[in-house]
Amino acid sequence: MMGLAIMAAVAAAGFVADWRLGLVLAVWFGAWTLNAGLAEGRGSWVRRVVPLIFGITLLVLWEMTVDLFGVNPVILPAPSAIWAQLISSLPTLWADFVQTFVKGALTGYVLGCGAAIGTAILIDRSPFLQRGLLPVGNFVAALPIVGIAPIMVMWFGFDWHSKAAVVVVMVFFPVLVNMVAGLKATEPMQRDLMATYSASYWQTLMKLRLPAALPFLFNGLKIATTLALIGAIVAEFFGSPIVGMGFRITAEIGRLGLPMIWAEIAVAALAGSAFYGLVALIEKRMTFWHPSQRRQ
């Protein structure tokens, strides 16, 4: 009750100072009270509805603020303007998406993750190499690897090949470190069992150690999805053909075409979460046996 009274007082003060401010505050407090009330309830639908209401409230507030206060579209375009831009320039956005995501990020992701998994299996047989490579890999994983973008652009040209190369290097080490950890995840008892079956190295690998490594591997693969998209977009800041999400962002900055940039960012956000979601879905299908995947 105290909270409600304070909110009402602040909103009223806002109305007195400036009716527009008061309106914005009233919408915010109204939505917040609704959410606070809903959050008390139990049930699975609450967990979905509350964040949705929060997100929609933010969008509504954004739109209201821009419209009521007449914010310059060069500084912050309204969501409706961004949506209009998104709809009207779908072909351009699609071309950018194909160039940056499908050609650059996805190619690099597949190559980089494949190379990392292969390397992990290779060095798995040599404890010496593991002890040497793991600290180096951990060290490199913390470095600002996007910085190699200008070098790759110089080596592989402006087209998507250089972007894929940046992505390969960026995703390699997180996946490598996780895969090596995963290959160690079997218990001595399980390995002994395979030994009593007289299983060969490859049989043990295929039937026991690779499946056991999957939860760790997917951890690395999920981290790598975000890195791949970041690498592909940032590499385009250093030079690109006249298509691509990173190119569009830099080009539209020069023309102060903010709605287009926001539209491009919306596409990037959508692609990023869809990519992550896809990998998470595959993980769920392939590691259904793992405790972390069990339904609560």
């Binding site: 500084i75 490579l133 975000t226 830099t250």
Partner: protein, 288 residues
């Protein structure tokens, strides 16, 4: 630690060796072109010496990068525009400011999320989802928009790096503050501890390992954010602008030197946080 020294050194030496071979291989085309123009044969010895001492090699040899780094750090006055200390400081100051802002706000939000159910349900899904989004893509836009509003210098870059370190800290800190199990919380209830006491004596201490883990991620992300934030300002100052101007003018040694300076910076920032972690956890008796 010492047990790993020999393998690590072997791997590092192997990398340097491969690097030299790659430098010879990648720079060979230019040497052969030059030799063909002058009409002379290229011996193996010439090939090696000439590929490793070019002005603008395709791939600079390790010793050239080392020399570039040395020149950048010690070769000139610290205030010089060619000094890596100067550019490194520009990047570091923005990174630190952003990191402190981002992780401070992140910790505050995490406390709010843990203590307020509505906040937890509204904000937390978005904080998690935002980790799958390439936030870095908006860096150039933030710089330009703030620039058009008259905000220049260190602040726009710091905002980007704050933004990047914010979400990892929120997610890690929420996990940490929720780490105490029901038994421990019950114990404090039997002691009749107040909310503030529970926070100060149980939740905060048990969140420390999580906090430091996410601070390490956050500071690395902050540095990347600052470097990318330095790109669209037209190469004024900072390690990011050294990368960009190097790629404009084909100064490969400059790019590699800036890259290694950035790597050193990242490594020392993470190492400092690691050290702080060791000290704090030791004082708290939480050392693994």
């Amino acid at each position: 630690m010492l047990r790993n020294l020999v393998p690590v050194l072997t791997v590092v030496l192997a990398i340097v060796g491969l690097w030299y071979l790659a430098a010879i291989w990648m720079n060979a085309t230019w040497v052969y072109d030059q030799a063909a123009r002058e009409g002379r044969e290229v011996m193996l010895v010439d090939l090696v010496t000439e590929t490793l001492h070019q002005e603008r090699p395709v791939l600079p040899a390790p010793h050239q990068v080392a020399k570039g780094l040395y020149d950048g750090f010690f070769g000139q006055k610290v205030t010089s525009k060619r000094s890596l200390v100067y550019h490194g400081w520009v990047t570091l100051s923005a990174t630190l400011l952003g990191f402190v802002m981002g992780s401070g706000l992140g910790i505050l939000l995490a406390v709010g999320i843990v203590y307020n159910r509505a906040m937890d349900m509204s904000v937390m899904p978005w904080a998690i989802a935002s980790q799958t989004i390439p936030i870095l893509a908006i860096a150039p836009m933030i710089i330009v928009v703030l620039n058009s509003m008259g905000v220049q210098g260190i602040v726009p870059k710091a905002i980007i790096s704050a933004y990047l370190s914010f979400f990892p800290v929120v997610v890690g800190m929420v996990k940490g503050l929720r780490a105490p199990d029901g038994m421990q919380l019950d114990l404090l209830r039997t002691y009749n501890a107040s909310g503030a006491q529970t926070f100060a004596k149980l939740r905060l201490p048990s969140s420390m390992p999580y906090l430091f883990a996410s601070l390490k991620v956050g500071v690395a992300a902050s540095l990347v954010g600052t470097i990318v934030g330095e790109l669209p300002t037209g190469a004024v100052a900072g390690l990011g602008s050294r990368l960009l101007s190097g790629s404009y003018y084909g100064q490969t040694v400059q790019i590699w030197a800036a890259l290694f300076a950035a790597a050193l910076l990242a490594a020392s920032l993470v190492a400092i946080i690691g050290l702080a972690e060791r000290i704090v956890l030791q004082r708290m008796g939480l050392v693994r």
